[in-house]
Symmetry: D2
Subunit: 470 residues, 4 copies
């Protein structure tokens, strides 16, 4: 750890330099963590000054040196002490000639670390929620634009009936709104350990406060109020680790929405479908053989990272499940990785999702081509129904359509246009009940989308509202 | 599938016969699923009768045969059709001479199946919530009983400072209350697909309703109202699969609480600790060599099953993430297993947890033994503080205690009682500042539990309130 | 558990009736497990008779009743004893008037159960290996048939360069051969606990054998020889649980191959690609609107189940990791589910894979259509290279091709045939260096497949060899 | 990415600075990756020079600049090109005035990247295997030392019968030897993609080699020979991703062994058991209240990280399962994290395991204490058997022992020594058949360990052999 700078001669997580955003990386940095620790020590000292346990000038001294984190020195001390928080106490104390002695007074390490971690998770959720609202806002625009653009819907990856491009996008939007509600709630419910000492009983604070007229709960309320963080009623050495499982599951649930969004857009970018195009840089290298080809690398990257994210809640489950009795330390090492990684991956996913949604292109010509190719099959139902209403023999009409459909399908497999509308509009058995124009009208699938446009608009409204709050 | 009865000559999931409870098993049975399908078909027909699309006597006929599920016949038909829902339609229709023809009118399979699955999940959550409230109620009793019973707390599996037995149990209770809130909310928010047709646009219903003055949304509202199930605004062929990930994560979170509860109680049942004992049957075989020994098999079983449960949310994540475009069918087969398994495992865990919490025994003699052995180390801090207040040299006192502690630790390792209180109460350097009685008083760790008793009682109150609602 | 038959009024795992095959289900049945237990007791008694500890007629009596498993009776006894193996001992003993008293002599439960479980896993691997070899054999045929059928290859789901249908299938074959090697090896290395008593030390056997001249290791060798199962050198109460993690990982690895196989075939069945068709039953219901449409339900089902399988190795990892000291029982309950489920899912996957591979159809017309649409882009490289060799200006030719490609791409997006070959073969700048026929020859991508055909054939040979051993 | 140095003001994975070893970190660095890429380009050029496609002086030029990786410049170019490998080609080419133009001739990106990744995995396995052998060697010593040290064995965390400390450690050793075999085999079987071009057909190489008399397979053999890496017979754009799932599962299996080792040693360090002590630094801060207390932080850290490792194979499974057709890019982003993390975590685990095994202490006084407390229960079986042999009434003796055991158990719960041996050796009903000395002899459990010592020694021998090869 000599000079504490790192280069590409050592392994660096891609989340440190390639994926994720600077604010989220800074939030999970060692330096920021230590600044939070110091902020907590100051809040503790301020409250203890109110009680009369420490002097105002001591608190003042702590405040004066609050931002002077010196990681090199702290790590030097940790190499001896094998205890990172105590190393920070010593480092900080050495900077504070007047107040150094009162840092961490009556506290146990986890009173500081665990609250700081809760604050980091809270702030990380805040960063994610802002980005998520931006994605919602951007998606609202696209859903509205395309609310009535008819496109073939696919089930089993097979053309089915028509839908609209906007309604399809609205499905993702509906899921994102659920994610936003979940993250909002998780953020609002988030609690810290509070100040409860080594095993969560507040015994050490009780002793410290003997004769002051203060209870441990009052001291706790004072400090937590300064940190604007509610505390759990009960804790062991730490806050319940269940909270982290719930938060990581919520973040992974957002990751699931974004995975599906990206996966759908990857499929739609496949040229045989071809209905979507990613934004693409000017000098970006695609394929040398097909320079106009656009590999869906933004969406592929999202699926790759989302898949990693999906594996992380389980680690938090294990940490919560196996923290025996008043706490074992088998959570500590992996939390340094997985909490940050989950937040950074989600951070990166949202950044890419915004780009994908805002700057991607609906390829209307391909949308129309697919609708023409596959729409008539669904639409032929209307020919059946309308001619039947006029008295046609249902069985005969069914057979007409069936024959025409088989021929049409073979034509499509061969790469030809779908002849079904023409076939039906020129079949005497059909023309006995309707004009060719009527048949062509019924065979146009473009309005066979039920109330998808209205539903899409309603979701767009909700997305826009979420986006405005960003 | 010849005669559709199964014996132990074939593999039967232990959840069919060994674990889980009959009501939860019945809820996830094929027969019940088909009864729900029929209930949905009846609700659809009732609404369509209101619209005027079908006749009251047809609806009446469907209602009359609603419960006559015949799985053997349905499976016979499915073997030909390769489509389980259509096989049930045919089976049901064959039973309904008058109304058979209108079953499933205008609907797509998933309008029936997917709403039925939402109803199963809703009812399963209801079963779990009742059981969870019972566990809360039972735990409330134990937390209150032991709110002030001092016991050694362990961090790192090492004796630390005292806590109380009730406060320790209250931690589990606090987690259970979070789980209950989560399950309550998931249940309240649970939605069905509604009636939206093959790709979610309601197009087929629109056509069906042409000229009736009804909109698809009104039809949907009518049917869903009859089923008492809200519908998602948007859907593809199915409701968003995200819902199942969120529900399974919530159930797995409950599984995590119960895993930790069981794991802690397994440790506490280990004779070197020995503070807890599971309920034990009269003729139950323990160890032949140590007939009084009690293997913690209830708690071990819970950890085993909870671990299985922890693996299941990931399957639901995958289903949601990979349901491409308007739906692919790669969710279907595994949902037959994992939704039921998750609910059945949780069902079994709660059943065992209730037994463990309600009928388990706190072994007070062992609690006291451990407190005597390890409590004095923590309590010696008070000797330091009190003598220092009276003017003793802090350094000297620290050394006295350190020496005494080392000797005491060695005694304990050897299996002897902790001599530290006696040592200090007979050391002249200590007796210069306090009487032997005073020292013995300080060295009694039993009241060194801060406000743990009050916090335990507050959580017990919340648990009792939750339990009363059961 | 009254009469021990089960119907669809209770939850039955789909693996009991819908998925999986009868032999694999029978292998994991309770009845078979108990027959294995009895077989082990007989083998133990036979060896003990050799030692002189029990009498031949006692062994004979055990052998006579070996197959009379009576689960109803055994479960009745278990309800009292809370110990399933001891319940079976009592049940068996009640059937054996002469030998009943010597059943399980000197043994601990896990000497019987754990070896039986190893035998079940071994036999399950044998069932899987036979099926896997059949899939290899069937795939060999298809790879050979299509070794030289040129098709467009897709990277990023974008058309890239040509490959061959057979070479594409050979990739799956190459992975299956790795899986087969892994399963063969896991089967060959599979070991049982042996006969080592309650904590693995053989102490009880040592005492039993006192004065007989036999060592516990010799007794163990005698019994395990009769069971044809090697034993681990060391064991605790059980064999190391690591073995099950390794086996489940191996099975999940097979599941991964089959997942990708099915996923690829699902994509290829999507009509815009359309290069593959699943086998389809005569009366099977597809879509009513498009009766000729073929939903890839076999392949979708495979992906669904494989995804479930992928979650199971983790449970085995946990069982192995958390089996504390000489064994805790937190593996037992979930092993009843996950070992069987992993084998049954793999069993079902292989059954479907065989059908998919053997009876699926390559839609050559679609293969050709896609090659025509996208092949020219890759082939245009040859025009560049060949004209450059003859002295053409590389930059100019590159521009000619670029322009033509852009126009061609737009045509394809519009649903028209790819005009690139014609464009180049009629461009004067190209015709200055080559005849139109030469250009058309170069633009035919169908032989631009390198050595894919030969590599495909070599893998087909290996697959055929594996298949012949089935 | 401005200046490409990183400090603790940004998030740095703990595996970059806190966990893992410098050689493993260097192996996974960007710089090393690029040096491998260049090494591959040189090997390609060397072979192409042999073919006559490029000139010796061009190859010489490439070799001369092979180590001049300039990441800042490469990243600058990548920001424009959005393609990291092409950016490196440009950077390298700019350094090579003579040979720059032939870098990457005929190759596709994945011909370079994918082989480089295989080489990194191979080298990482080599690093792990050396460390694993060291752990085996260290464990051999401890197993031998304690092969005959009798200790209480625990099943269900309950004292059972005796075992030996060495035999207990040998279980871990037996598992490590399996892991070593697995890693050895995975390393030996490891293959690269070879040089097969964009979709794995070698088509581009075929064209390049036209007229040279070389086949693509020969070119491939030449380059791979220079890299000492076998190639897969078939590949798509990449080598089969299954390989990485198998390797990560193998590494996670090692992680499982080390998890259990650490978990057992954490339990044994719990003072109520107290049989093991971790190595501890001179100034290391333990508990202030109990300075002699030793928190098992090395072992806790191992369990924490191993749990993270256990989640990673699943990501590799997904990458392999979802790499559609000739490859999709949804593996790329997460592979940058998970391959390195899996290797670095295993690297760290082995480092800590070595310390734990080599420098940890068996606390013999506690081993003896536990044996005294719990051993007599198991040993009392011998009193029963021996007196029965001499003619005592088995029922009566059983009752004597049962009564004594109950009293003894109560004494232990109370913290007193186990009185059972004395009780039996002074009971007239026993003394009717044996002397008090005989009874005391039988009640000594210390030799009731079967053949555990011999088995332990045999495993120690195998471990030592593995260790010597390190």
């Amino acid at each position: 750890m000599s000079d504490e700078t790192y280069t590409h001669e050592t392994w660096l997580s891609p989340l440190s330099w390639r994926y994720g955003t600077p604010p989220m990386r800074a939030l999970w940095s060692e330096a920021h963590k230590r600044r939070l620790w110091r902020r907590i020590w100051v809040a503790l000292a301020e409250t203890q000054a109110e009680v009369g346990l420490v002097k105002p000038e001591q608190v003042e001294d702590l405040r004066a040196h609050q931002d002077e984190v010196d990681i090199v020195e702290a790590h030097r001390r940790e190499a001896e002490l094998h205890h990172d928080l105590m190393a920070e106490v010593h480092t900080y104390a050495a900077q504070c000639g007047i107040g150094g002695g009162i840092i961490h007074l009556g506290a146990t390490s986890m009173d500081v670390e665990d609250n700081a971690d809760a604050m980091r998770l809270r702030d990380a959720l805040d960063l994610l929620r802002v980005q998520l609202r931006q994605v919602c806002g951007a998606l609202a625009v696209r859903v509205r634009e395309e609310a009535s653009t008819t496109a073939m819907a696919f089930t089993h990856l097979q053309p089915a009936e028509p839908t609209t491009v906007g309604y399809r996008l609205a499905q993702h939007g509906q899921d994102l709104l659920v994610d936003l509600e979940d993250l909002d709630r998780l953020r609002d419910e988030l609690k810290g350990k509070g100040f409860k000492g080594a095993v969560g009983t507040c015994a050490s604070y009780g002793q410290l406060l003997e004769g002051t007229g203060w209870t441990p709960a009052q001291l706790e309320a004072g400090v937590m109020g300064r940190l604007d963080l509610p505390a759990f009623e009960a804790a062991t050495q730490t806050a319940p680790r269940k909270q982290e499982y719930r938060i990581l599951s919520g973040i992974a649930s957002l990751g699931q929405t974004l995975y599906k969004l990206a996966a759908d857009l990857r499929l739609l970018q496949s040229p045989p479908l071809g209905e979507w195009a990613e934004p693409f840089g000017k000098k970006q290298i695609g394929s040398s053989a097909m320079p106009f080809k656009r590999n869906p690398i933004v969406a592929e990257n999202m699926d790759s990272q989302a898949r990693h994210l999906a594996a992380l809640p389980r680690v938090a489950w294990d940490n919560a499940a196996h923290s025996y009795l008043e706490r074992t330390l088998d959570d500590s090492a992996n939390r340094r990785s997985v909490l940050a990684e989950a937040c950074l991956i989600a951070d990166d996913l949202l950044k890419r999702a915004l780009r994908l949604v805002r700057d991607g292109t609906v390829v209307h010509v391909a949308v129309a081509r697919n609708l023409e190719a596959y729409g008539p099959f669904a639409a032929s139902e209307r020919v059946l129904m309308q001619t039947a209403r006029r008295g046609a023999d249902r069985q005969e009409m069914h057979e007409v359509i069936r024959e025409g459909s088989l021929t049409a399908w073979a034509a499509i497999q061969d790469g030809s246009p779908n002849p079904l509308a023409d076939t039906l509009a020129s079949d005497d058995r059909v023309l006995a009940w309707a004009t060719a124009d009527e048949v062509h009208g019924w065979m146009d699938a473009s309005d066979y989308v039920g109330d998808a446009p209205e539903r899409a608009v309603r979701i767009a409204d909700a997305l826009a509202a979420a986006g405005e709050a960003a």
